[in-house]
């Protein structure tokens, strides 16, 4: 079943990408075309096939020691904040969250 523009609008809302009506139309066409291309995946009998989420063979249990700043990566405040467009004192600043659906977790 093809995605409707409403479906695509919902995905764009979720993905936090504002789309104009024109972009929405194009995006909808693109997504349906792309999904069409993915159909071979759905035509398999995959019963009993384990997924491979990581192409790393048997590599597992990769962990690091609990040693503070062992890799010397800690950033000075000015560096940490350097690329932020809005900051205040020692913090990053964002506008009002009110009305933001993601407000609760």
């Amino acid at each position: 079943m093809a995605l409707t523009q409403d479906d695509v609008r919902g995905i764009a809302d979720y993905a936090r990408i504002a789309l104009t009506e024109e972009e929405l139309e194009e995006m909808c066409a693109y997504m349906n075309e792309a999904i069409e291309m993915l159909q071979p995946i759905r035509e398999y009998d995959l019963t009993g096939v384990e997924p491979t989420f990581h192409p790393i063979g048997d590599l597992s249990n990769v962990m690091a020691g609990d040693e503070a700043n062992a890799n010397g990566r800690s950033l000075d405040l000015d560096v940490a904040l350097f690329n932020a467009a809005a900051k205040q004192d020692r913090t990053f600043r964002v506008p009002s969250i009110l009305g933001d659906e993601g407000g609760d977790r």
């Binding site: 995006m27 693109y30 291309m37 995946i41 467009a85």
Partner: protein, 504 residues
């Protein structure tokens, strides 16, 4: 001695700097001159890091003056794809989103090249966030193929490939998520390698598809690529990348050895694939002949699930891309839409205006594919298909040491010629499978197309963590092709050979 800088291989430059034949500073200056001379036409770079280059070269020269042992890449000018962090440069990913982003740390792969003595010349153009196969989605400018500036260099690591092909640098690094090193290498007539997933650290490389991305080198010969590979893995596994693994830095060992008795697999159906242009089919026949002439035995193999690789890739890639690019919200870094009253508005507009169309398309597709209910229909089965593809490779490599495939169905196309996104996706047909399975692949020039006159390439793939053997086969192919008079290692695109960048 007077030599044109681009005539020298990375191996020769490092040797010349070590022996005192010329200084690293002279080489850096020659590279800067070459860049100044050619960049207007090629536009391979987003940033040229002249200061960093001259400082690094001066340090190399100082070390030599003190009698210290120099690194294996001493004085070798190198370009980095602009998704790799290097302190002192911006890392833009060719996106408005990161137009002003200053690197706050240096990527492991970049650091290792510097540790080996390489001279950082700058940051190379790319498709925005590596989404593309032509470097046309760069938010800043296109990069022209040095063989024909009306044509694309391929992508997404188009700038890295073009800079090497035009003789601006001796080496470059790219990243390959679905063919983004091998395809532009093929388009630009240089050697490009995607090592086995995990061989090279991804730490500090802006992620596209975390389970697919792998960093690798471009050079004008297999030997230069092997030299760069040594430097990339010489520091051991990177403790900062959970998926990285230990690889021995012995890529030059036995590189010149004969491949007598080694078996190279081909898939007859792929050699005749309908997407291949006639000149590409011809080229593959001559590549097969060249390998046979070098003593390799050609065997037929099968990868039965090859038809599904594009589908699997365009499930896994966009899903991981959506997830990886979620962090670009304009809060901690990146483009921030001014004047927004609420956070939601600021986030949605920053992302709408910071990202280009293809970046938005991939993220939208990924956000859809990971949705509950959809995940089970596409993402999970795609990862099951990945198991089948990996198994296919395992079976195939029981019958051969390497597999030969095209690196792309065609040679470089004209700007704008491929505009439909899904049509563009299909051009990754022959490279994607090894990103899915994780094994290594290398693209080697095999001549110029009989119709187009443009470089064409063959791709060799090897079993996981058998990249040294893979390069040995690649070197044999290169040797055989040269012997057949089809293409010589070290070739710079003809319009840029012997033009500026004299090494005094």
């Amino acid at each position: 001695m007077m030599a044109s800088f681009e005539e020298l291989s990375a191996v020769q430059i490092a040797a010349g700097v070590a022996s005192g034949e010329f200084t690293a500073t002279q080489v850096a200056q020659a590279s800067l001159d070459a860049i100044a001379d050619r960049e207007q036409e090629v536009q391979a770079f987003l940033q040229v890091s002249e200061d960093l280059a001259l400082q690094a070269a001066a340090r190399t020269d100082e070390l030599r003056a003190k009698g210290a042992k120099l690194g294996p890449l001493a004085g070798v000018p190198i370009a980095f794809k602009d998704n790799m962090h290097l302190v002192g440069t911006r890392t833009t990913c060719a996106s408005r989103m990161l137009e002003d982003y200053e690197s706050v740390f240096t990527a492991t792969c970049v650091q290792r090249m510097l540790d080996a003595g390489a001279t950082p010349m700058g940051k190379a153009n790319m498709d925005e966030f590596a989404f593309g196969s032509s470097t046309e989605t760069s938010a800043f400018h296109r990069t022209n193929n040095p063989w024909d500036t009306e044509r694309v260099p391929g992508g997404s690591s188009g700038g890295s490939a073009a800079a090497v092909a035009a003789g601006e640098v001796a080496l470059s690094l790219g990243s390959d998520t679905g063919g983004s090193i091998r395809q532009p290498a093929g388009f630009c007539g240089v050697v490009g390698m995607k090592p086995t997933y995990g061989a090279v650290s991804r730490y500090g490389v802006v992620a596209f598809g975390s389970s697919l991305d792998q960093v690798g080198p471009f050079g004008r010969s297999v030997a230069d690529v092997a030299l760069a590979m040594n430097a990339l893995v010489a520091g051991g596994r990177d403790p900062l990348d959970s998926t990285s693994q230990e690889v021995a830095p012995n890529f030059l060992d036995g590189l010149e050895d004969s491949v007598e008795g080694m078996r190279v697999g081909i898939m007859p159906a792929l050699m005749e694939h309908e997407a291949l242009t006639p000149e590409m089919r011809e080229g593959l026949v001559s590549a097969r002949d060249a390998l046979e002439a070098e003593g390799a035995q050609i065997v037929e193999v099968e990868l039965p699930n090859m038809d599904s690789v594009i589908a699997a890739y365009y499930v896994i890639g966009p899903s991981e891309a959506f997830s990886n690019l979620a962090r670009f919200d304009g809060v901690r870094y990146g483009y921030q839409e001014p004047g927004c009253a609420t956070l939601a508005e600021q986030t949605a507009l920053s992302r709408a205006h910071g990202f280009g169309s293809e970046a938005k398309r991939r993220q939208m597709l990924g956000a859809y594919l990971l949705a509950s209910g959809v995940y089970d229909k596409y993402y999970y089965p795609a990862q099951q298909v990945r198991t089948l593809i990996t198994q296919d490779y395992r079976n195939a490599f029981e019958r051969c040491d390497a597999i030969m495939l095209p690196s792309s169905p065609t040679s470089a196309w004209r700007f704008g010629e491929v505009s439909d996104p899904t049509q563009m996706y299909a051009s990754d047909l022959f490279t994607i499978s090894s990103n899915i399975a994780g094994n290594g692949g290398v693209s080697v020039p095999i001549g110029l197309g009989s119709q187009s006159g443009l470089p064409i390439a063959a791709q060799l793939q090897g079993p996981a963590f058998e990249d040294r053997k893979l390069l040995r086969v690649a070197r044999a192919l290169e040797r055989g092709i040269e012997a057949a008079g089809l293409f010589s290692p070290g070739t710079v695109a003809p319009d840029y050979a012997h033009r500026g960048g004299e090494l005094a």
